[in-house]
């Protein structure tokens, strides 16, 4: 394999999960996340020579991912797709599994999924990827001040959503 291929292989090892989760939380569809994440790295391979090193590789990859998600969300396919595709498996999970899932992460992820795309992407990039507001601004095409504002609003919305869940016995 070419040296570019090796580079992409290394990038995939380092960033696959992060990119996948970003795409998944943006599109809310696992199949689409599988497909678009592959597309991100193929695009990166094709554009390696255009990478100007003005930003970090990580920021660059997430910018590609964000563009792919934007294209997808604008496509006719998305407009017909199930808005929240976490459809349960045909085989029912055990009571124990349901309890663990709901306690550990479903509430947080469910609450995250209620946010707007702009708020959701900022939360995922900051909390999961530890990117600064300036770096996130480079990815989403906004100033660091705007990103910071979006993040604060997103956290407040999450707090409200989760507290509402607690009071209604969601978990």
């Amino acid at each position: 394999m070419s040296s570019d291929g090796e580079t992409i292989s290394q990038l995939m090892r380092a960033h696959w999960n992060g990119i996948w989760k970003f795409v998944y939380t943006t599109t809310k569809n696992r199949e689409v996340a599988n497909d678009l994440t592959q597309e991100v790295f193929i695009q990166a391979y094709k554009s390696l020579d255009q990478f100007r090193r003005e930003s970090s590789v990580k920021t660059w990859l997430f910018r590609i991912a964000r563009n792919k998600c934007t294209d997808y969300l604008r496509s006719w396919a998305f407009r017909k797709v199930t808005p929240f595709s976490m459809i349960p498996h045909l085989e029912s999970p055990s009571v124990e599994e349901i309890a663990i899932k709901s306690l550990e992460h479903a509430a947080a992820v469910d609450a995250l999924m209620t946010l707007t795309v702009k708020h959701r992407e900022v939360v995922v990039l900051h909390i999961q990827e530890d990117l600064t507001f300036r770096e996130i601004g480079e990815i989403v095409g906004a100033s660091s001040g705007t990103v910071k504002m979006r993040y604060r609003r997103a956290i407040e919305a999450l707090r409200t959503e989760l507290e509402k869940e607690m009071f209604t016995g969601g978990y």
């Binding site: 394999m1 992460h105 989760l162």
Partner: protein
């Protein structure tokens, strides 16, 4: 409540699934690109495996205009770029400008049995952008075909698509991928005339001979829908019309049985999570494969999957069910 830590813990719990499988798929594609054989066959894991291992010949469209230069004989030595560009411009509508295309402006390749054809992409403020094909006659170019409806193709190749010893020209717009369906046009050259013989939109194309006794290659256009579901359109050669025509899927039970049903079955039982669109796709594929009883069973299973208000809704399932039942009645 520490929202940030809570969300972080939630995000960590999300399982990204078979990442190694998908990474391997990316590396295979990159490897193919490295070798200059960009296969336009990429799709999510199951189809990739199903088609690449079991299917007939998958359409490779990586070659580009100039890729066939080595195949030409001495008597077919191409004209100089300067002459070609001047000639080509003179054949196009006034104000046209030739665009650079990999890396020559006017490229040449074989079409038909062994004819040398010249091609260029151009831009015109009045008629738009497109592609022009020309042939040499007594040292000058004469226009064979021009099209601005298709626009500027992003990929051009000229394989022997019909496996008849002739070379066709395949034009592709955009960058086909799993979530991106793009326009495709196949042109045939009879020696004097260029004719579009197949036009469609797809994210992947499959070709082979799936009908007993057929002499011409058939095509399956897989067009991505959503949630892993594809709209599959079958094209068959029509001698009377001189081009490929859209043909009902039911006429290709072998193809659906061998390739489409296994794709959906794999997605349904090994993909995560189960969704209604895959169940609907499988029901439809079973119908096209002539497996009506299995199709009806799948429709019933599909309607029990939650999110009945989302597409495909139970109404869609019911419509399909009626179609299958009608077919069962007519065949009994």
């Amino acid at each position: 409540m520490d929202i940030e830590n809570y969300v972080r813990a939630g995000l960590e719990q999300i399982d990204s699934g078979d990442s190694e499988l998908y990474q391997a798929s990316v590396l295979r594609r990159i490897h193919a690109m490295d070798k200059g054989k960009r296969r336009w066959t990429y799709r999510s894991r199951t189809v990739g495996v199903t088609l690449a291992t079991a299917c007939a010949v998958l359409l490779a469209v990586g070659g580009i205009l100039a890729a066939r230069q080595g195949a030409m004989t001495a008597s077919q030595k191409p004209l100089s770029q300067k002459t070609l560009q001047a000639d080509m411009i003179s054949l196009l509508p006034k104000g046209s400008k030739l665009l650079p295309y990999n890396p020559q402006i006017v490229s040449h390749f074989k079409m038909g049995k062994s004819s040398l054809v010249y091609g260029a992409v151009f831009q015109n403020p009045s008629v738009g952008s497109g592609i022009a094909l020309a042939q040499e006659q007594k040292g000058r170019l004469s226009l064979l075909w021009t099209n601005t409806v298709f626009g500027v193709p992003s990929m051009i190749s000229n394989p022997d698509l019909l496996h008849n010893g002739e070379h066709e020209l395949v034009l592709i717009k955009g960058s086909p991928s799993v979530t991106s369906n793009e326009k495709v046009e196949v042109l045939r050259f009879t020696g004097t005339k260029v004719t579009p013989i197949l036009t469609g939109t797809a994210s992947q194309i499959d070709n082979g001979k799936w009908k007993t006794g057929s002499t011409m290659t058939q095509f399956a256009f897989w067009s991505y829908g959503y949630g892993g579901m594809y709209d599959i359109r079958m094209y068959q050669w029509s001698g009377s019309k001189g081009k490929y025509m859209l043909t009902p899927n039911e006429q290709f039970p072998l193809y659906f049985k061998r390739y489409v049903v296994p794709y959906y079955t794999n997605q349904l039982y090994h993909g995560q999570p189960v969704n209604r669109s895959i169940a609907y796709g499988l029901s439809e594929a079973l119908y096209d494969a002539g497996q009506y009883k299995a199709s009806l069973n799948m429709i019933n299973d599909g309607m029990r999957i939650p999110w009945a208000s989302q597409f495909p809704t139970n109404m869609e399932f019911t419509m399909l069910q009626k179609m299958v039942q009608s077919k069962v009645r007519s065949t009994n």
